[in-house]
């Protein structure tokens, strides 16, 4: 059932293992441990039990009727990953990887985080399994996501602010990789998205694929048919890969990934790696990348810290090139409007990241450019963003 990118870890030409030599044995060990875990009924049973009793799966698929009326399209279903424990899809991956770390006998966990959702989810899994946890977070993100920093600390994690480079997710990832190179013998790196060297893009996708498996079953129960359109926001792209994977073989289902256009494509202030990047190598894999003509990685920008990343998962690069998925983008202002609109219409505060997907559905719906039924991955809740958006004032209303 699980499609494999093969031993070389390639999705088409993308992916691979472009890392310092020091990490090669750890990646081999992880790939072997993951393969063994998938063949171990006890591992799978424990993962399923935790998903049900601890994470709170399955999450509901909710029909958003007032959103439908506002967007002029129906039906629209929201896959409620915001209702997972810790408030986002990220925990699907961190519980799975913590189980793998325990299986490999690694007592120390490191992670990078942007919005802080992956950091919180990692700290949570580490508390559950009594693992030491260090989370790297760009100092700019520490500033704009202070609530999540406090949550991680409550959960027993050490948050290390990263001052290098652009002080955001990309630099936190560099610092996590440096830590891993240095402490590889006793440390597992719980990477937070479908990025990084093989086997991470495969492992993270597989742990997130539960989203789409449930959504597919649920929408068939509700509508008696598959959705016409499946939509998710894309930074690194883990909730989108999780949502898309189960539908990838259903050719009649359109897959739409929504990147962050920030202040607009062409402004030099976006995070749309697929929309305006070129293939390149960052953080261990070949994929689309925002970069200058010299191959220097360009700073990304988005109002959503979790999308503020100049790269994207290699499987998304392949899905775009092959034409199986379509990638669009939504700017800061539209995302902020969607962030304010959904609470008023449905009583649900979405994460700013998720608001990009909702904004695209609303805009494309009003223009009659999206086919129903629509299933949107509501990847996380927006409590973490309330303070930040309130500081932005009325700009989002424009």
């Amino acid at each position: 059932m699980i499609a494999s990118p093969g031993q070389a870890g390639r999705f088409g030409p993308y992916g691979g293992r472009y890392v310092p030599e020091t990490l090669i044995p750890a990646l081999d060990e992880l790939a072997a441990a993951y393969e063994a875990a998938l063949a171990d009924p006890a591992f799978l049973a424990e993962a399923d039990a935790l998903a049900a009793d601890y994470v709170g799966r399955p999450t509901p698929l909710y029909r958003a009727r007032r959103f439908e009326a506002a967007a002029g399209i129906a039906p629209v279903y929201l896959k409620r990953e915001d209702l997972n424990h810790t408030g986002a899809h990220k925990i699907n991956n961190t519980v799975g990887q913590a189980l793998l770390a325990r299986r490999m006998g690694k007592p120390r966990i490191i992670a990078e985080t942007g919005a802080g959702q992956h950091g919180v989810a990692t700290a949570t899994a580490c508390a559950l399994f009594d693992l030491e946890c260090v989370v790297y977070m760009g100092s700019e993100d520490v500033e704009r996501q202070s609530l999540n920093v406090y949550r991680m600390e409550l959960l027993g994690a050490e948050v290390r602010p990263v001052e290098s480079g652009t002080r955001t997710l990309k630099d936190a990832t560099n610092e996590a990789l440096r830590d891993w190179v240095t402490h590889v013998a006793d440390t597992h790196y719980v990477i937070g998205s479908v990025v990084g060297p093989h086997p991470f893009p495969l492992i993270v996708r597989d742990f997130q694929a539960v989203i789409g498996r449930e959504a597919r079953r649920q929408i068939i129960e509700a509508e008696g048919r598959l959705p016409a359109t499946v939509v998710a926001c894309v930074g690194g792209g883990s909730n989108a890969m999780g949502m898309f994977h189960a539908f990838a073989g259903d050719e009649e289902v359109a897959l739409v990934g929504v990147e962050a256009a920030g202040e607009g494509l062409g402004s030099g202030r976006s995070s749309a790696s697929l929309g305006e990047g070129r293939p390149g190598v960052l953080h261990g894999s070949l994929s689309y990348l925002l970069q200058d003509p010299d191959g220097q990685v360009a700073p990304a920008h988005s109002v959503a810290a979790g999308l503020d990343y100049p790269g994207v998962g290699p499987e998304h690069a392949h899905l775009m090139d092959s034409g199986r998925a379509r990638y669009v983008s939504v700017g800061d202002g539209a995302a902020e409007r969607a962030f304010r609109e959904l609470p008023a219409l449905e009583g649900i505060i979405p994460a700013l990241e998720t608001a990009h997907a909702l904004a695209w559905v609303a805009e494309a719906g009003r223009r009659g450019e999206v086919a129903a039924p629509v299933a949107v991955c509501l990847s996380g809740r927006g409590d973490k963003d309330v303070v930040h958006v309130s500081r932005l004032g009325g700009r989002g209303e424009a």
Partner: protein
């Protein structure tokens, strides 16, 4: 095939019974003038190979010193063209072998074929991509192997014995043994096991073995030289450049050169 500058230099070292000295320079840091003077000075005081670092925005294998020098070089406007120009200028006065130290993306972005032909034209002898381990991209690796540049590979303390042999066989010019599991950066002390590990790599390597990462002082250089063919020093020189300018960095380089000459060569290839 005619042996290149790197092979000739290592053959000369072996004949003289000396260990090689391989200093690292971040191109463009803190200014292009510093790089020009540093390269000329290193060549003059007897560097055997110079590692010329192409600054990269995301140096994930580097510690704070080389992160800072890379970022400083980029903020100063250093482009890959400037690195090639600095190299071409050095070539007007020196035949010292030069290996370009680079993350893969600047090479990839330029097009591998274009990059290697421009680099060779400028006078580069080798290329050492920090994030292209053996087997990661066979087609790209083959292009580098077949290029006019020597494709220098890295071996780490975590590399298995079988893989050490494969990497050493694949490496051209010399092979680089990473002295510790970690990132680049000066250190007060080297690990006790380092000499034995480097010796084990030498025992199976058909090409000379250079040791680097953390080698910082003349004492370190002497200790490491006993177990390998050459010693690479990076962060300690960049730190000295920050503290004492080009003259300070060259003074340290001179001490390292003298220490290596004093240590003589390893007994293994005698």
């Amino acid at each position: 095939m005619v042996p290149g500058r790197i092979a000739r230099r290592f053959a000369g070292l072996a004949a003289e019974g000396r260990a090689g000295f391989i200093p690292f320079v971040t191109a463009g840091y803190p200014t292009p003038d510093h790089t020009r003077d540093l390269l000329a000075g290193l060549a003059e005081l007897g560097a055997d190979v110079i590692e010329l670092g192409i600054p990269f925005s995301d140096p994930m294998a580097d510690g704070p010193t080389i992160q800072r020098s890379s970022q400083g070089a980029l903020e100063g406007g250093t482009r890959v063209d400037d690195v090639f120009a600095a190299l071409a200028e050095l070539r007007r006065t020196s035949e010292v072998p030069v290996v370009l130290f680079s993350y893969l993306n600047p090479v990839y972005a330029r097009g591998v074929g274009t990059f290697v032909s421009e680099a060779a034209e400028a006078g580069a002898d080798g290329i050492l991509p920090t994030d292209l381990p053996l087997g990661a991209d066979p087609a790209l690796e083959a292009r580098l192997t077949e290029s006019p540049l020597d494709f220098v590979r890295l071996i780490a303390p975590t590399t298995s014995a079988d893989r050490v042999r494969e990497i050493a066989r694949a490496s051209q010019g010399f092979v680089y043994y990473v002295a510790r599991t970690g990132v680049t950066g000066a250190r007060a002390e080297l690990r006790g096991e380092l000499a034995a590990e480097a010796g084990a790599v030498c025992a199976v390597s058909p090409v000379p073995v250079a040791v680097g990462f953390g080698v910082s002082t003349p004492g370190h250089a002497r200790a490491v030289a006993a177990a390998c063919d050459a010693v690479a020093v990076g962060s300690a020189l960049v730190d000295r450049l920050d503290g004492g300018g080009v003259a300070g960095a060259l003074a340290l380089a001179g001490e390292l050169r003298a220490a290596l000459d004093e240590a003589g060569r390893s007994a293994r290839r005698g």
